[in-house]
Symmetry: C2
Subunit: 275 residues, 2 copies
Amino acid sequence: MKELTNLDRLCVHTITTKPWSIEESIEQYARAGVKGITIWRDTLENRDRRLIRKKIKDAGLEVVSICRGGFFPKATAGERERAIDDNLALIDEAAEVGAPHIVLVCGAEPTISLAQSRHQIMEGISRINSYARDKGVKLAIEPLHPMYADSRSAVNTMEQANDMWEQLNSKNIGIAVDIYHLWWDPHLQDEIKRAGAADSIMAFHTCDWKNPTTDFLLDRGLMGEGIAPIMEIRSWVEDAGFKGFIEVEIFSEYHWKKDQKIFLNEVINAYRQFA
Amino acid sequence: MKELTNLDRLCVHTITTKPWSIEESIEQYARAGVKGITIWRDTLENRDRRLIRKKIKDAGLEVVSICRGGFFPKATAGERERAIDDNLALIDEAAEVGAPHIVLVCGAEPTISLAQSRHQIMEGISRINSYARDKGVKLAIEPLHPMYADSRSAVNTMEQANDMWEQLNSKNIGIAVDIYHLWWDPHLQDEIKRAGAADSIMAFHTCDWKNPTTDFLLDRGLMGEGIAPIMEIRSWVEDAGFKGFIEVEIFSEYHWKKDQKIFLNEVINAYRQFA
């Protein structure tokens, strides 16, 4: 496994430093030597996206992705149409801000079965994919932890993402491998290999699983704070051929309470030591 | 699927009515027409277990299981020995109270890999099994939800439990299918069929997955309060040949705050309507 001796592959997701505006994230990431930035869509609200794109470029950063699209399954056809419209709008935003791919949190509708949700996800991705391709924006399916199967994603393992990817059969689609969601899975290594052989790994997200974890959404750990086999999973992803950014994505009320400059410094130290 | 027109297959786990002592649970369950009782081990503290066994029998109840053994993986050999000793002691308790099987929450040690934890689990079960068999006590491997892979169980899917069961190769061992832990798994139906073909389904636990769930341990839902496909999973288990008790196991701070007589009545209504 390659040691992370420099920050060339470090991407920080703006949700990690949620208290900062997009402008402040760009400035601080660049100053700290971070090379990639993933944009939480909400941070673009009331912004000129082309101006943000220019600011990112001028700061020497690279846009890695925009997060998040998806949420296709819905109880009614009307809601499903609105989800499609929203994803199409996001594709425009991604193109404007220069994001090469959108991370898809696929969705799960509690009032229908998981099988139905999965069917609607496949339908949704199929419907937006040609528009995305025409705009030069790729789509990354992100399998989410099974604890989110109730309302956030009916895609909960790497195997499912690989199966979907094969059915969708488009080079414009890939998979986002996220340690937080997948570390527990006994088939993870094999399914990462499978994705590698298909050249479908589009993104790699890192953070840690804290023991105990006290909140379903907002208690992710900085690398080294928890018990996930972070380096081992990175080695699997790299052995499978992935050479892209290592993206730090941490939803954490605890870390958001800190001075975010101090926290960003902790992120960088954790990246060097534990990613 | 057979409708649950009577309470002949209803078992209540004493943790469901945690505020009650074992004696009060026995009395109230019997009065309400519940037929089976699963005993949370802690409720037997400072009790004459043979007397409890007699009370249960006299009340017309059947002991379904004692909960819980396991927790085999540990950081040191000494701790692993103590875990074995504790499981052997529990086998004695199970035999004394007349429990036909022990539910195994297999354990996961945060400081070692999941693979190592699984290895230690296999070793632990192998080591206690002959003693259990000699005492007339069976062992039920319970796969736990992946959100418990950090410190509670490295066995997180029905497939893993089936694989372990095949390796252990003992008719004294079985599997406890729990809706709460397994409902999300796309392979669940197939793996339940597989277990059915091997005649290894030893127990069936029901409750519901609430959306949202607010606590990792103590926010399980009464059947009907959540979004798990409870009846469908029961139909899979029954199609696989399981004819035993339907065991209601609800860890819930919310429900424990209620008058437990009212709650037990709600459990019975939920059993008739939604299990």
